[in-house]
């Protein structure tokens, strides 16, 4: 065994190593991956130079025992000929329950399988049943592979973007998909915020800006204050079921009406109409009118669509986005005239009528300098570069908000808000509740999300029970319910009975989401499938974790150890670190996990003191660390 290496105090134990991080825009109609290379963020193209990967997955029946899954352009060509096995716009189903799907105004052609208990819409395909999370994971795998090929090595982490108005269940589903694709998620980043980064860092903007983001299936509006590298979201609003898809549908429905076709529309014809509609829409961005001829089976239509008529077809849809914009401006407590810029994001902002109405509303020409299809992935890559540690995080700070109020059900089916919308995350809020009946020993906690007064009108996120409340008269027990939303916008809930201290913790997993074990099992299956060694992979992950922890505590000791620890305390930490160093070179992943825990515990008080000291420093503006020597100077 090699001798242990000791680095000079204050020096990083490893030379600065550039890490591989990507930003991924997982879109409704297409997805992209970008990375910062030689200083600037660039979208990574495939071998044929295509930057946009259509968010389409095709499942074919098993051949020689292996599933046939194709993603992207190769899958899209099968959309019309094999509609039931070609999954498009899967983002619309992410985090949704079977019940939600049945209320969609637009019928999806897929066969949904019965799935006991989960409530997740499971799609039957020729290659077996798949969940929306799995379909999204297939798209992410292709993008990750693109990233690996471009960067020449394994990825250390990824920032994945989500619509700002995505609720808890939709965010969790996205994160699950990334985990399933084997990605280390550095952060879920809101799409408009990502766009603001791409623009803000480019333009060195100061002041209040609006980001209008109309994608294939979702609409977001965010109002941000930009100041000295701080991107502070003041408010956000949106509609997670409104986008360019709906423009296509409006055209398709108009064509169907014009054609006077009176038979049932088959899934294949439906797809054909949607594809033609999309093409007509795209052409109308540059032309005043488009002639089209559509033939599918016994369906045939020839006609002309003018831009003016198209504008009329989408008028109410665009008006819906404008109403949301006004609400967001009001929520931000600013006036239209306070805005210094309006940024356009998402492919659907190419539609001239959208640009026209947005300019009228905000009273200024929107910014379209960066390609609206690429801007979100670009911003995500910039954030990923910072989070992974390649770029100093001092220059940039993102303060995002919770898009929808979070609360619990109280008597009479009313929703009591605990964390309000548009409050900056991460956030923790606690509220006390009490019992309703004499001698009540358990309490059902129903976590909901939404702005409406009635629970029935809100989204149900999770239910759990707090048991073991000592019997008391009604109203005497004191139950403290704490909600915490982390920087990804994900919620965890704690309920605690104050007189006994009985506590229940839940990380909210939507009722129709995946259980942690299910994801682990799926991951194992997929790895086994690829004939990889599960244990080797897990060991490697643990070793990376351990090395990261060692480096971080060693640095902390070098910086603040002298100042914040006495000799005995420091010795305890050093001993724990030495134990960890001894096991990390071995192959016992459980021993490594155990020593990681111990080292974490040993250094917990130190970490807290460092945080307190750094706050003190922030307030006093003076250096607390007299012993830090500038090695470069």
């Amino acid at each position: 065994m090699a001798l242990l290496q000791l680095s000079e105090p204050g020096m990083s134990p490893k030379p600065h190593q550039r890490k591989n991080a990507v930003g991924i825009d997982l879109g409704t109609t297409h997805s992209l991956v970008a990375s910062v290379r030689s200083g600037s963020a660039e979208v990574i193209a495939d071998i044929q130079g295509r930057k946009l990967l259509p968010s389409v997955v095709h499942y074919a029946s098993a051949l020689n025992g292996a599933e046939q899954i194709t993603v992207g352009d190769d899958a899209r060509v099968k959309a019309v000929s094999d509609p039931l096995n070609t999954i498009i716009s899967i983002k619309r189903l992410m985090g949704r329950g079977v019940d939600d799907v049945s209320t969609f105004d637009h019928h999806m052609p897929y066969r949904f399988a019965e799935q006991n208990g989960t409530g997740m819409p499971i799609i039957e395909t020729a290659a077996g049943n798949v969940s929306p999370v799995q379909v999204s994971a297939e798209i992410l795998k292709v993008l990750a592979q693109r990233g690996r090929e471009a960067l020449g090595d394994e990825l250390d982490g990824a920032v994945i973007t989500v619509p700002a108005y995505f609720d808890e269940a939709q965010r969790q589903a996205t994160k699950d998909a990334a985990t399933l694709a084997g990605l280390n998620v550095l952060r879920l980043l809101n799409e408009p915020t990502a766009a603001a980064i791409a623009y803000g860092l480019d333009q060195q903007d100061e002041g209040i800006i609006a980001v209008y983001d109309l994608g294939g299936g979702t609409f977001d509006i965010s109002i941000l204050r930009l100041q000295a590298g701080v991107f502070e979201v003041l408010s956000t609003g949106g509609d997670t079921a409104l986008g360019g898809d709906d423009f296509d549908r409006a055209i398709a429905e108009w064509i169907l009406k014009e054609s006077q076709y009176d038979k049932d529309v088959t899934p294949g014809l439906s797809r054909e109409l949607m594809e033609s509609a999309r093409s007509i829409k795209e052409q109308l961005s540059g032309l005043d009118s488009v002639n089209a001829f559509i033939q599918h089976g016994d369906f045939s239509w020839q006609g002309e669509l003018t831009r003016a008529w198209f504008d009329g077809l989408i008028e109410t849809l665009v008006a819906r986005t404008l109403k949301v914009c006004k609400g967001a401006v009001r929520d931000a407590k600013v006036k239209m005239k306070d805005l210094v810029n309006v940024v356009m994001v998402g492919g659907s902002t190419r539609v001239p009528y959208v640009r026209q109405r947005v300019s009228e509303l905000f009273g200024r020409d929107p910014m379209i300098d960066i390609d609206p299809d690429l801007v979100v992935a670009t911003g995500a890559a910039l954030q990923a570069d910072v989070l992974v540690g390649n770029k100093s995080s001092d220059d940039m700070l993102l303060l995002d908000v919770n898009p929808l109020s979070l609360g619990i059900e109280t008597m009479g089916g009313l929703a009591e808000k605990i964390i309000e919308r548009n409050v900056t995350i991460p956030i923790a809020k606690a509220q006390e509740f009490t019992t309703y009946k004499d001698g009540q020993t358990a309490m059902a906690v129903h976590v909901v999300q939404g702005e409406r007064e009635l629970v029935a009108d809100c989204r149900s996120l999770a239910r759990f029970e707090l048991r073991g409340i000592p019997p008391m008269v009604a109203g005497a027990a004191r139950i403290l319910v704490t909600f915490q939303v982390d920087a990804d916008g994900l919620l965890s809930v704690t309920a605690k009975e104050m007189t006994t201290g009985i506590e229940t913790n839940v990380t909210v997993k939507p009722s129709y989401g995946l259980e942690e074990e299910q994801i682990t099992q799926m991951l194992k299956d997929s790895i086994a499938h690829a004939k990889d060694d599960v244990h080797a992979r897990q060991l490697r992950e643990k070793q990376v974790d351990a090395e990261g922890l060692l480096a971080s505590i060693e640095n902390a000791l070098a910086e603040d150890g002298e100042m914040l620890l006495n000799a005995a305390e420091r010795n305890d930490i050093e001993v724990a670190l030495q134990r960890l160093r001894e096991v990390v070179v071995g192959d016992d992943q459980h021993a490594i996990a155990r020593e990681i825990d111990r080292a974490g515990q040993a250094s917990n008080e130190f970490a807290t003191r460092r945080m307190d000291a750094s706050i003190k420093q922030a307030l006093s503006g003076k250096s607390i660390d007299a012993i830090t020597v500038d090695k470069e100077g």
Binding site: L398, L399, I425, P426, A487, S552, G600, A618
Partner: protein, 179 residues
């Protein structure tokens, strides 16, 4: 400086009702620069959890201190006087009549010729009412003891009233004035 500090101490501000908004914003940004989880994306799990806890506390503190109503409730609580939502003590009848009149105006707003102007007028009145109550509370909290706590609590309840009507005005604005 730690999590157990009260929010004024955390923000290094004097414990008084009227506060310097600019100083609050500046300190807020400094604190977020030190505690935000993005600054710990590369750190150990344990430090990341700690960062979420600290940043959440800083955000909650900022939320509470920025809102004149939440700040008032918080200051009462620091001095040991909670606002009990169950307990509805008799309120100043003059205030109640005034508020009822405002509510009536609000209910009729959709039927008047110029709802926008009517809402604007109500909104202005509410803003003035809230400002008066804030001034009143600023004095009361300075000399707070057992004998006059009820008066301060009463002021806060009036503020709650006004803030509730304000949110109804905002809701109506959204309903009435849009496409």
């Amino acid at each position: 400086m730690s999590l157990t500090d009260n929010y004024f101490q955390l923000f290094d501000l004097p414990e008084q009702y009227s506060l310097d908004d600019n100083a609050l914003r500046a300190t807020y940004r400094d604190l977020q620069r030190k505690t935000h989880p993005d600054k710990f994306a590369n750190a150990s799990k344990q430090e990341q959890l700690l960062a979420v806890q600290y940043a959440a506390t800083v955000n909650d503190a900022c939320d509470v201190l920025t809102s004149s109503l939440k700040r008032a409730i918080y200051m009462l609580k620091l001095k040991g006087f909670e606002i009990d939502p169950q307990q509805s003590a008799a309120m100043d009848p003059m205030f109640l009549i005034q508020q009822m009149e405002l509510r009536e105006e609000l209910e009729n707003v959709s039927r008047v010729d110029d709802p926008e102007a009517a809402l604007e007028k109500i909104s202005e009145q509410l803003g003035k009412d809230l400002e008066d109550l804030e001034k009143c509370f600023a004095v009361q909290i300075e000399v707070l003891d057992e004998s006059n706590a009820v008066a301060a609590q009463d002021t806060v309840k009036k503020m709650q009233f006004v803030v509730k009507v304000q949110s109804e005005v905002e809701h109506l604005e959204h309903e009435l004035l849009d496409v």
